[in-house]
């Protein structure tokens, strides 16, 4: 025991923190370095790539640098397609000396293009060659696909004109293509590593445990991939209800994904047959009836696809995502808030570039709980003009207000309102606000009750 106490003292004294090096994330550095050093000794191309890959922070920058490659002087634009394996979307970047743009495309589209290029013999294309692809490249181009450890990528260079490539250009591109793969791999894996570490750190920060770190091996400590050791210690005030809730949300996400796959096919069948019947039915009343059915089907389709988005975890939210989230909450709480007018508005000016770094599922859960809380309170009244207003400040520091014109809470109630199992409602569990408050704490924020004339007013503040 003494030993353990000793270790935890050391932990705090040394100020040990989790670092990226503590995890051996999927990097093939050694193997790749070998490949590179093998080719670099005798090639001008490799020298160029060595130099450029070291000064570039990401693949986009690296692509831009490629335009300065000897033999590439005539090329104006690099199109770079990238798909991280396992993701349902790929990205396309258009990079030239003076401009840059990006676009998302479906993985199917990416894969079709990937296969088409893989199959072509000379990798030189005109407009005709890849007809049918939504592929806005002007004129003729040279393309090459690469399958890397964690990504599939496509590199395309073009002059933005319709003349076919010269032999010099073809030769330069082919030389470059031969050796460029490991450089892309290193740069992309590094990007991936940074991203993954961000995830690990987030999980680490939100673990319902205290993590003790040590430099030395002590009893009950486990080894990290690095030289450090760690041990998990349960937090004293571990809120069981909260953990169950987290698990339930996770499970729900999986369930919804399965549901989406199982439901989308029959819904598609209903959509098609309803479309046909809308045209066939001659009786006016029946036709209108059928159109209602068709529109309900379309709504079901969009709910099921939004649902899964709603439960997809993301760590950074744009203004648009937050707005969409609030509207999604309105849809999801419809059964509880049928006769309540729900409005969303932004407070003050919107910062278009605003990005909120927060777990989307938790944030959605908080908004959901607050809206349901208001709706339930309103449903107990006989008010005919029941209203819920959600107002968000879409700039730093983020604020989200949920305001209703229900009974509100008196001073005594306000003291207890966030306590678990405290409720004023007939069917309440007393967990909604308690869970929301603990989720807010995990997001580094707080929910407060603002006492005002009439109704309830909650505000969530993050990043203050």
């Amino acid at each position: 025991m003494e030993n353990q106490g000793d270790t935890s003292n050391k932990t705090s004294a040394a100020g040990l923190r989790i670092a990226a090096d503590d995890f051996r994330l999927p990097l093939n550095y050694q193997k790749l370095k070998k490949q590179i050093s093998h080719t670099s000794s005798f090639s001008k191309t490799s020298n160029f790539l060595n130099q450029k890959s070291q000064v570039c922070d990401d693949a986009i920058e690296f692509c831009e640098e490629l335009l300065s490659y000897d033999g590439f002087q005539t090329f104006r634009t690099v199109h770079f397609f990238i798909h991280e394996k396992g993701k349902s979307f790929a990205s396309k970047y258009e990079i030239s000396k003076s401009a840059f743009s990006s676009k998302e495309l479906h993985v199917n589209e990416f894969n079709q293009l990937f296969q088409a290029i893989k199959k072509s013999k000379n990798r030189s294309f005109g407009q005709e060659a890849l007809k049918g692809f939504t592929f806005d490249i002007l004129g003729t181009f040279l393309a090459r696909e690469f399958s890397l450890g964690n990504h599939n990528i496509i590199l395309v260079v073009s002059r933005n004109d319709f003349l076919s490539q010269t032999n010099i250009e073809k030769k330069a591109f082919s030389e470059l293509s031969k050796v460029i793969a490991p450089y892309f791999e290193i740069i992309l894996d590094k990007e991936l590593q940074i991203q993954q570490f961000r995830h690990i750190k987030l999980a680490y920060e939100h673990l319902p445990y205290k993590v003790l770190l040590s430099q030395d091996k002590s009893p009950n400590f486990k080894k990290l991939p690095s030289a450090k050791y760690f041990k998990l210690e349960a937090l004293e005030s571990l809120d069981k209800a909260d953990i169950f809730h987290q698990e339930r949300i996770g499970l729900l996400g999986e369930l919804l994904n399965t549901l989406k796959h199982e439901l989308s096919n029959p819904l598609f069948g209903l959509q098609l047959s309803a479309e046909i019947l809308c045209h066939e039915i001659e009786d006016e009343d029946s036709r209108i009836f059928m159109e209602e059915i068709a529109s309900s089907i379309r709504r079901s389709q969009s709910i099921i696809s939004n649902f899964t988005e709603f439960y997809t975890t993301s760590e950074s939210l744009k203004s648009r995502d937050i707005e969409r989230m609030v509207h999604e909450v309105f849809t999801l709480t419809k059964s509880q808030s049928r006769n309540i007018l729900k409005t969303f508005e932004t407070i003050g000016e919107k910062d278009e570039g605003f990005i909120l770094e927060a777990n989307s599922v938790w944030l959605a859960q908080i908004i959901f709980n607050l809206v349901v809380n208001s709706a339930q309170a309103l449903n107990q009244t006989d008010a005919t003009d029941a209203k819920i207003l959600v107002r968000a400040k879409l700039r730093h520091p983020f604020e989200l207000h949920v305001i209703d014109n229900g009974p509100g809470a008196d001073e005594e109630e306000v003291q207890k309102i966030f306590r678990p199992f405290y409720t004023t409602k007939e069917k309440g569990t007393g967990l909604g606000l308690a869970i929301s408050q603990s989720l807010a704490a995990k997001l580094g924020g707080k929910i407060e009750y603002i006492a005002q004339g009439q109704g309830a007013h909650f505000v969530l503040r993050l990043g203050t």
Binding site: V107, N108, Q112, K131, S264, L267, F268, G269, L272
Partner: protein, 123 residues
Amino acid sequence: MKILVVEDEILIQKSLQIFLQKRGAEVDVSSNGKGAIEMILNKEYDRVVCDLMLQDITGFDVIEEAKSKYTLEEISKLFVIITAYSSEQVLEKASTYNCEVLNKPFSDMQEALDIMMSKKGKA
């Protein structure tokens, strides 16, 4: 034009049949893979619109069986694959046959029908 629609979701199957008939095609349907194979081997079709997830076997099994009658090139033009769940693996496999692949639900119904009715299949 003679088309076989292989799809186990009855409403999708019937709707496609009607849509294609309206465009002048002669349409046979099958709800399962084994029946489809029999029809492909015993009749002549200009196009087979085939779902991948069938109750008995997969659409890929149907294509494999069709190989006993058609060359690879003919197969690439004969089949149009329709699928609700297109993972990378599925698409990669589909691309080995070089067939047209359509995702359900179709984002553009008319375009999907155009592809099913096209003379050549995949360009």
